[in-house]
């Protein structure tokens, strides 16, 4: 993979409650860090366009809270919040991450902005607890193993639906 490849790499090592995300950005770490942390910027990119951001707040201090709420076209809302555990711009940010649909599960996210030639390599590591952990773990098994050939799977689905 070349450094300018902007493919999103999602890796979930089998047996670990972890999900690693890597993505190259053609901008310096200072900017990537700010765009990923400052709510004024986060509201401009976080989530697909089909979801409206109704809340995007962050108290940018260690111990401070962040809160984001998405609203789907059908009116359903999805909230996320967490606390900042470490703020070390422009390189590193650590915080908790709670999906309000499953408030008992607290994940910890470490975001690192590595300076690389021509830009920044974002390396985010999300450590989940039990249920999420399993889901993500298995997602890796699916991504790397049996679901290698999506096209084959589509064929099988078509076949199964025909019978």
């Amino acid at each position: 993979m070349s450094m300018t490849d902007t493919e999103t790499e999602i890796i979930t090592p089998p047996g670990e409650p972890v999900i690693h995300t890597r993505r190259f950005f053609k901008a310096p770490p200072e900017l990537v860090y700010r765009a990923m942390t400052d709510p004024e910027y986060v509201r401009r990119w976080f989530g697909p366009r089909s979801l409206e951001i109704t809340v995007c707040e962050a108290d940018l201090r260690v111990g401070g809270r962040w809160h984001i709420v998405h609203r789907a076209p059908d009116g359903t809302e999805f909230g996320f919040h967490g606390d900042f555990l470490e703020l070390d711009p422009p390189r590193k940010r650590v915080g908790t991450f709670i999906y309000e649909g499953a408030p008992d599960h607290v994940a910890t996210e470490t975001m690192v902005c590595e300076p690389v030639e021509g830009g920044t390599m974002l390396v985010a590591t999300m450590v989940h607890d039990s249920v999420e952990a399993r889901d993500m773990h298995v997602a890796s098994g699916m991504e790397q193993g049996i679901l290698d050939s999506y096209s084959r799977l589509d064929e099988l689905v078509a076949e199964a639906q025909a019978t």
């Binding site: 901008a27 765009a35 697909p48 249920v131 049996i146």
Partner: protein
């Protein structure tokens, strides 16, 4: 952390299916069955474990809706149930889509910010030059 729904699957079905997939033997069994249906003995052959142990794995996969078992003549055959697998892959896919679309939007934002930053910098530089010039003139 995908907020993008779990289409057609209940939380329990998701848990069960992901639980079933969280074991390397069961994933290997599914990989084998993705090539086509197979007899129980054939499925068990590559694994260094007893037939009952393999049967336990097959039960877990069947309960999770990932495979089905039927008889043909005297043979007991296992078959992949691709619809459930597709539902799961859609569910995982939504996680990837969520981030891919977010990051594309972030690319655009960074580009905007960078050009704004460059304009800002050149303004500052011009201002500096102007200041230096005035300083020079004052001397």
């Amino acid at each position: 952390m995908s907020p993008l729904a779990t289409p057609d699957l209940t939380e329990r079905e998701l848990d069960q299916a992901f639980g079933a997939l969280s074991d390397p033997t069961r994933r290997a069994i599914l990989a084998r069955l993705a090539e086509g249906e197979a007899g129980v003995l054939e499925v068990a052959a590559p694994f260094p474990m007893s037939q009952p142990a393999v049967t336990k794995h097959l039960n877990v996969l069947e309960d999770a809706g990932l495979i089905s078992r039927h008889r043909r003549a005297r043979q007991r055959l296992c078959r992949l149930e691709p619809v459930r697998l597709k539902q799961l892959s859609d569910w995982v896919g939504s996680y990837r889509e969520f981030w891919e679309e977010s990051f594309e939007r972030l690319d655009e934002l960074l580009e905007d910010l960078q050009s704004a930053h460059e304009i800002d910098q050149s303004k500052k530089q011009k201002q500096k030059q102007k200041q230096n010039k005035t300083k020079g003139e004052a001397r």
